[in-house]
Symmetry: C2
Subunit: 197 residues, 2 copies
């Protein structure tokens, strides 16, 4: 209470340099730990990897859910930002494929988050909207480019694709071994199939 919410990403005015270092280290470490052991991983594991004390974590993220939400937004930003970068470097179809794989990698690090989202914690309320708001335009642009280039059909719905891959990438047991990537390739092939029509 009284503590203004700590925003992830770009440094804020008035934040001391060492504080910003701690925040960055925590976000990086938390992202790695969440990817490895899910969002229920012990806090001490995060603080150890970040090389900070427990007090430092709770100073910047008063509740555990604040850290999770911050990491989530951080990664959503990074993933969405990859879309224009890929579009500039590769041809439209290649950029689309690579970004979908990138997106699948993002989803794969979200073990346990689905449950957290339905836990009723109001800190998470804004996350689904944030998710759609950033990813749908990113994918939409990639799809448009590929369609304009004649590489894929033009009636693909971005949000449909995001949900489909979201469901593909998250559920499986630990023996994935390329399954998700193959399924994405198949989806893209499906998009290419209708290119002529």
């Amino acid at each position: 209470m009284g503590d203004e919410p700590t925003l992830a990403g770009q440094p804020r005015q008035g934040v001391r340099a060492d504080a910003q270092r701690s925040i960055d280290a925590l976000l990086t470490a938390a992202a790695e730990v969440f990817a490895e052991d899910g969002v229920d991983a012990p806090v001490r594991q995060i603080t150890a990897k970040a090389g900070v004390g427990a007090g430092t974590l709770y100073r910047h993220f008063p509740q555990r859910s604040d850290l999770i939400a911050a990491v989530f937004r951080h990664e959503v930003d990074a993933c969405a930002a990859a879309a224009p970068t890929l579009a500039a470097r590769y041809d439209p179809l290649e950029a689309l494929t690579r970004w979908l794989q990138r997106f699948a990698g993002f989803i794969a690090t979200k073990r346990g988050l689905s449950a957290a989202l339905h836990s009723g914690d109001t800190t998470y309320d804004s996350l689904p909207g944030y998710f759609q708001q950033h990813f749908e335009p990113a994918l939409s642009a990639l799809l448009d480019s590929a369609a304009k280039a004649g590489a894929i059909r033009s009636d693909a719905d971005p949000w449909d694709l995001l949900r489909a891959i979201g469901n593909l990438a998250v559920p499986a047991a630990d023996d994935d071994s390329g399954h998700t990537q193959r399924m994405i390739a198949l989806l893209v092939d499906g998009l290419r199939f209708g290119a002529g029509a």
Copy 2:
């Protein structure tokens, strides 16, 4: 290890009377606590309500998941067994409606179980099969009776209905207040609508 799995329900040969009492008390208490606070509720809360020590719980249910699975099977049995009872007491349509409400009540007590099922704990592996194996025939019989009586259409798929109600009854926030019941009534009305055809 070496401890044979403790079966819920009917007493086994060779179990001492006091042990059976403890098992019953634990299953009853756990069912209430799970319904109230979800499957993640503290173990001490269960032992306290059962009037039993912690050691007693772990003697009969070596892992937490064993207790959850036992309660689950226990309640599946009870819910499935209600079908023929209702069928004998009420007319086919009334029996069907009442059982679906009963089933929704069962689902409503399963907060957190969905997440547990996807946790990879092998103790839970048999539960989905157990679920379908007991509920599908129970509902199927009720549907057939109602269809034969001309009260509802005859092409309803039991498993479809179970899944639909399963999804209806579980997700909402805490402000349900009869929503599930209204939706079930609506579903039954839908079944009645096609009765003539």
